[in-house]
């Protein structure tokens, strides 16, 4: 690999843009998509590889090419540096997620409580603007406090976040739906919120709830039927 190619590849990855490295196995010639000119077959193979997140080989003429997708990192933004967030923290990295915890209450959002996790003590609306959730981001609110949860959910609903979850009972969620509706979000937006958050595994303890949330996020990412949003009381999609 040429150092210049490596630098371009790393610049795309640092900018959180999807990029594909294509290598001709006969001589090591390399191309990047998007960016470099290449036959349509290789463009199609690049797009497919980003979609499936799987590296593989394509034969063009009698030349074998290795198609290696590099998607931006998966992220989980958690609002509320609470006990459940602490239980989610050690699960995130092994599952392939960079986890960020937002909580303006400094007593909660401490390095001591969440070692190795990115912390933001900004107010959730400012934190969400800075973090800019995208289609590879999950957003989970855990504070139970509408002053903190609602601005984060409002921002998440305006983003392409692939998963939005909110802790709270069905009754709490019905009130939340009413508040978010007042902010201008319709039934379709409400249908994006997983609430009560997490797969129904009858979780009781914080680690069990963390497991149910992480499982639901993985299911949503992988497109499993389990990740389907449950019906919300008082809302017809």
């Amino acid at each position: 690999m040429k150092s210049a190619t490596l630098a371009r590849l790393q610049a795309e990855r640092a900018g959180k843009r999807p990029v594909v490295l294509l290598t001709r196995l006969s001589d090591g010639a390399q191309l990047l998509w998007p960016g470099d000119e290449m036959p349509a077959e290789l463009v199609e193979a690049s797009k497919a590889a980003l979609g499936s997140e799987e590296a593989g080989n394509v034969t063009l003429g009698d030349e074998a090419w290795f198609i290696h997708p590099h998607n931006p990192p998966l992220r989980i933004i958690v609002v509320g540096a609470v006990h459940i967030a602490q239980a989610m923290a050690p699960m995130a990295a092994p599952l392939g997620f960079a986890m960020v915890v937002v909580d303006p209450r400094r007593a909660f959002a401490s390095e001591e409580r969440l070692p190795g996790i990115s912390l933001s003590t900004d107010w959730p609306d400012e934190a969400m603007a800075a973090l800019a959730p995208d289609a590879r981001t999950a957003v989970v609110t855990l504070t139970h406090d509408p002053k903190l949860d609602d601005p984060a959910l409002d921002a998440a609903l305006k983003s392409e976040a692939f998963y939005i979850g909110a802790l709270g009972s069905r009754r709490t969620h019905a009130k939340r739906v009413a508040r978010l509706t007042e902010l201008g979000h319709g039934a379709e937006a409400m249908g994006r919120i997983h609430a009560p958050v997490g797969l129904n595994i009858q979780a009781v303890t914080a680690p069990e709830i963390a497991l149910s949330i992480m499982a639901e996020i993985v299911a949503a990412r992988r497109g499993a039927a389990l990740g389907a949003v449950r019906p919300i009381p008082g809302v017809t999609a």
Binding site: K2, Q10, R13, T23, G28, A55, P90
Partner: protein
């Protein structure tokens, strides 16, 4: 806890080594069959001085890949390596991987 690919950026490590004046090669799993331990796209960075980061198997072929990488650093030419990890051989070295892998080795120029 072992780091996964998402946590460990082998390309960044390779770039850092290169910037520090080391001779560096990158090995990438490009094809797998059977129960090979690391998926296509897994990377190993190697320096001529003997540093290793990442992995292309559960440990059974890293030595051979490093040898090939040193050849590539000298010749400047990439290589496509084929490893068939037979069950007998796997047991011999204390690994149960089985499977086969193809590994592309390229010098960082």
């Amino acid at each position: 806890m072992t780091q996964n690919d998402n946590a460990e950026d082998i390309l960044a490590i390779a770039a850092t080594w290169k910037a520090a004046g080391e001779d560096v090669a990158i090995a990438t799993v490009v094809e797998t069959w059977g129960s090979s331990p690391r998926p296509a796209g897994s990377r190993l960075a190697i320096t001529k001085s003997g540093k290793l980061a990442g992995s292309v198997s559960g440990g059974c072929i890293e030595g051979a890949v490093a040898d090939a990488a040193r050849q590539s650093m000298v010749s400047g030419a990439p290589q496509l390596l084929d490893f068939g990890i037979s069950d007998e051989r796997a047991w011999e070295v204390g690994l149960s991987c089985g499977g086969k892998v193809k590994v592309f080795v390229e010098p960082l120029s």
